[in-house]
Symmetry: C2
Subunit: 301 residues, 2 copies
Amino acid sequence: MASVLPASNTSMRSDRNTYVGKSFVHVKNPYLDSMDEDVLYHLDLGTKTHNLPEMFGDVKFVCVGGSPNRMKAFALFMHKELRLTDSEEDIKDICAGTDRYCMYKIGPVLSISHGMGIPSISIMLHELIKLLYHARCSDVTIIRIGTSGGIGIAPGSVVITDEAVDSFFKPRFEQVILDNIVTRSTELDKELAEEIFNCSKEISNFPTLIGHTMCTYDFYEGQGRLDGALCSFSREKGLDYLKRAYNAGIRNIEMESTVFAAMCRLCGLKDTTVSKDEFLVQEDQPLEGQPPRTQTKTPCI
Amino acid sequence: MASVLPASNTSMRSDRNTYVGKSFVHVKNPYLDSMDEDVLYHLDLGTKTHNLPEMFGDVKFVCVGGSPNRMKAFALFMHKELRLTDSEEDIKDICAGTDRYCMYKIGPVLSISHGMGIPSISIMLHELIKLLYHARCSDVTIIRIGTSGGIGIAPGSVVITDEAVDSFFKPRFEQVILDNIVTRSTELDKELAEEIFNCSKEISNFPTLIGHTMCTYDFYEGQGRLDGALCSFSREKGLDYLKRAYNAGIRNIEMESTVFAAMCRLCGLKDTTVSKDEFLVQEDQPLEGQPPRTQTKTPCI
């Protein structure tokens, strides 16, 4: 799939944003275009070593999730759904030269893993956005299809996020830039959320809803769990926090959505997250008048 | 290696901390001992499904690093160094049932991957500390042997961390617990750092030093890089930040050390980080009077 580019690839950038009606993926970095080469280190790709427009120019959908195995399973699922003529064996990990992330391309769909947590997805998103920019991609929709823990919803529910919020229930992502804190918006594409919600009505076995998603930096102490190596709050205080989250419109908790929303929005990607309730441990802690938090093991895709 | 435990495993906890002179790995969670079962979800291990004391009771050293491939390579290296009688083929990923982390045991040494960033290593550490606690391990030394970007040091240098600091050069880790921020100490074991530094004198081809390590949440905007998808600061401002970091005693930047230091210290592990300069991209930005930041591709182990 990869092919070597001529020494200079600056020509590929000349006609960006000239097609009327197309929304190109863009970067917000004045230094990038003057670089002789851009190495996407953690993806094992680069502008001099790979013909990115040829490899990725037709990408219209990007689906990201934490687990490499699941993103491979999703790629195989998409291959079946799209009824592509090439063999399943041709679906190879494009980032096989590194073990940081894995990436599969199935027609116009990219399936990429991002590991766990804001820093891990953030490195991947920086390099993915540059990849889509160098490849001159337009009108790209990106969807996070990870797992999450539900709050006060039926076990195994799928939550489509309308707004990502932080641990303080605020719709913001605080990005540390050098030693300054810059606050970025975490609004997601509401139209896309509605569109996916409408699709869900055709599938009977997935209870689906639209709600706020809380994004934390920590899985144990940050999400009210009582079974980490460290736990300094009482059962009651943890439950009170989850109740307040529920009352603020939060329906699930995960660890990537705020930076995902912030970065994709800044760079012209139509974005949403679709998370399936998976982890939840405190079955003895029902939210008053709501279904308990429960644990399911169903994969998210 | 794994074996099924009887239904109750509470008996294994009775004699904790009773041996004089031994320092047992401990948890700080009053709820843990009353749980009937502890599932270490992201490690694919548990107290009812595995005999943790039998599997891990002899562990004395834990080495952790971001990349799964490197931690496997380190396991094979240790196998050779320790001249163990079992075959190399017996070194299997203990966490093969999950793709979140990988883990290898070589005699008294555990080698575990932790992914990238504070949230990812934090999940692993919660479950690793619980594993060592359930296995009744004592006098355990833990070393992070990851990669990092050097500041004002010779390319490829190894930095042994005496203190982990955050983006504001402060020796602290701010843990969000529910919606409270708790500040934790990030001091590392200075005796261990000196001990490793003394060992390094016997190896001629690794320039090694002791210094502060800065831990950021972001690889691009957080570390002064000019080649991310987003970059809102000037070249000069980025360089000024790195100079100020150097003047504060910081010799390298990575993305895990503050939470590593904070959690290990709280739970009775003797800890340090040993990072090899690997990433550095801005070769045109030397620190005045200091060697430039450079990029090397040498693996960290």
